[in-house]
Symmetry: C2
Subunit: 178 residues, 2 copies
C-alpha cells in the first residue's frame, strides 16, 4: 500500500472476551477481504490438523490459506512442557508469515490463549507487530487477551456473553459454530 | 432437518452492542455455512442499494443472496414517516424470506436499529421467529437490540467497544470495515 494514501492504515485488531463471535468475526473480515481480492493467511492455534470445519471447507474452495496448527494443545495438561514447545513453534510460524510481506491480512486465531498462559511472550508478539510490513493488518482472537496486546492494538472488541445456547444444553451447530 | 437428529437445533442469534464485529460475525457464519453448502439469505437493513462493499463482492462471487434494502434510512430524519414506511417494507420482505422455507440461515443485518426505534414492532418479529420453519437459523445484528428479542433468542453476544480506531482519527479500512 502506498504511504501517500492517507485513508489506508494497517490495523492490529483484537477480538477477545468470553462470548461467541471472536473467530467468527475474523472469518467475516476474511470474507470481505477475499471479496476485494486481498491476500489472507489464517493460522489457527487451537484447531486440530485433522479438522474439516465449515470455515476450512470454505477456505479450501476460495483458495484462502488456512493453517490448523494445534491439536487443542491448551486443553491437554498431561505434558505442559510439550504444549509450551508446541505453542512456541506455532508462534515462530506465525512470525514468519507476518514478516514475509506476502499478505494483506494475517489472522492469528485463538492465539490469545497461549499468550494469556504465558507460553508465548507478549513482548515478542508486540515487537513483531510493531516491526511488521507496512500495510499488513493483523487480527488476533481468543479469550483473555493480555493488557499489553490491548494497549498496542488499534481496534479491540470484547465479545461479552449475554446468552449462550450451551447453557440450555443445545450442542454446537454445524455451519453456525464450526 | 429431521426432528430425530437431537444434535441439530435451529438458533436465533443476536449480535448487539456498540463495538465493532456484529455484522462481521454474521458474515463469518455465512462463510462457514457456505463452506457446508447451506442456503443463506442476507437482508441488509442499512446498506444502500448502490453499495459495492467487500462482502457484497464476495457474496456475488459465491452465489450468496445478499440484498441491500435500505438507503441508511435511520440516519435521515427529514421525513420520519417515510423512513418508518421503508422499515416496514423491509421487514415484510424479511418475513417472506423467513417464511419461505428456502433457507437454512437468514441474516437480518442491522435490523436491531429500526426495532429499537420502534419502527418495526418487536412482538411481530418474535412471533415470526417463533413460527419460523423448522431448522431455520436466524441472525439479527445491530446496536441496542430490544430486551424482548434478547429474551427470545438462543445466543446473544454483546460486542463491547474496548478500543476503536475511529477515535484515533483512523478511517474505515477497505476489506476490514466494508
Amino acid at each position: 500500500m502506498s504511504t501517500g494514501d492517507a485513508k489506508r492504515q494497517a490495523l492490529v485488531i483484537v477480538f477477545t472476551g468470553h462470548g461467541k463471535g471472536k473467530t467468527t468475526a475474523a472469518l467475516g473480515v476474511i470474507l470481505r477481504a477475499w471479496g476485494r481480492g486481498m491476500r489472507v493467511a489464517v493460522l489457527q492455534f487451537m484447531k486440530a490438523r485433522t479438522s474439516n470445519y465449515g470455515e476450512e471447507r470454505a477456505a479450501k474452495k476460495l483458495g484462502i490459506e488456512m493453517i490448523p496448527l494445534g491439536e487443542g494443545f491448551t486443553w491437554r495438561s498431561e505434558d505442559i512442557e510439550k504444549d509450551k514447545a508446541a505453542a512456541r513453534e506455532c508462534w515462530e510460524l506465525a512470525r514468519q508469515k507476518i514478516d514475509s510481506g506476502q499478505y494483506d491480512i494475517v489472522v492469528l486465531d485463538e492465539m490469545a490463549y497461549p499468550l494469556s498462559y504465558g507460553w508465548i511472550p507478549v513482548e515478542e508478539v508486540v515487537d513483531a507487530l510493531r516491526r511488521r510490513p507496512k500495510g499488513l493488518h493483523v487480527i488476533i482472537t481468543g479469550r483473555d487477551a493480555p493488557q499489553e496486546l490491548i494497549d498496542f492494538a488499534d481496534l479491540v472488541t470484547e465479545m461479552r456473553e449475554v446468552k449462550h445456547p450451551y447453557r440450555k444444553g443445545i450442542k454446537a451447530q454445524p455451519g453456525i459454530d464450526f
